[in-house]
Assembly symmetry: none
Homo-oligomer: 98 residues x 2
Amino acid sequence: MSDLQLNPLFSERTRLLIMATLASARQEIDFSTLVESLQLTRGNLSTHMRKLEEAGFVEVEKGFVDRKPRTTYRCTPLGRRETKKYLRAVEDLLSSIG
Amino acid sequence: MSDLQLNPLFSERTRLLIMATLASARQEIDFSTLVESLQLTRGNLSTHMRKLEEAGFVEVEKGFVDRKPRTTYRCTPLGRRETKKYLRAVEDLLSSIG
């Protein structure tokens, strides 16, 4: 059990949801859509996205649409890999419980 | 996505690992073994075990072996059920990544 690896970034339920959403979307998602679909406050989402960005799990792009600022996020290959790795670790745990 | 039920007791990575360890062991495990295999401090483990006991996920037994106090833990049927439920919910969530 000592070699059990569960990336602590995924322990926070909200970050798990964000990564699942971004990794399954296979395209960029804008900030407001994430706020709405995950029912978070803007501040809360910002904090989580900063952590995920620092980890290299997501890429952020800030631009303008119709002169309005628009922030979009995309899952990086590393983010996808780590999310899948986490999934496999969870599956391993499940099978060990039987 | 919004109806996802994830028991917050498992949001703490350490508690998930404790429950996975106890649920897969299928027998009682003593305090010192848990401290060692999960690489926790004794205080940290105590705090988590108290929460898990309050939730009815583990049963504690305090006894003596060779006149030394010995505390052992065992996963309850509820604990096993909830651990599997949590892990399956995470699995479902992440399996959409493909």
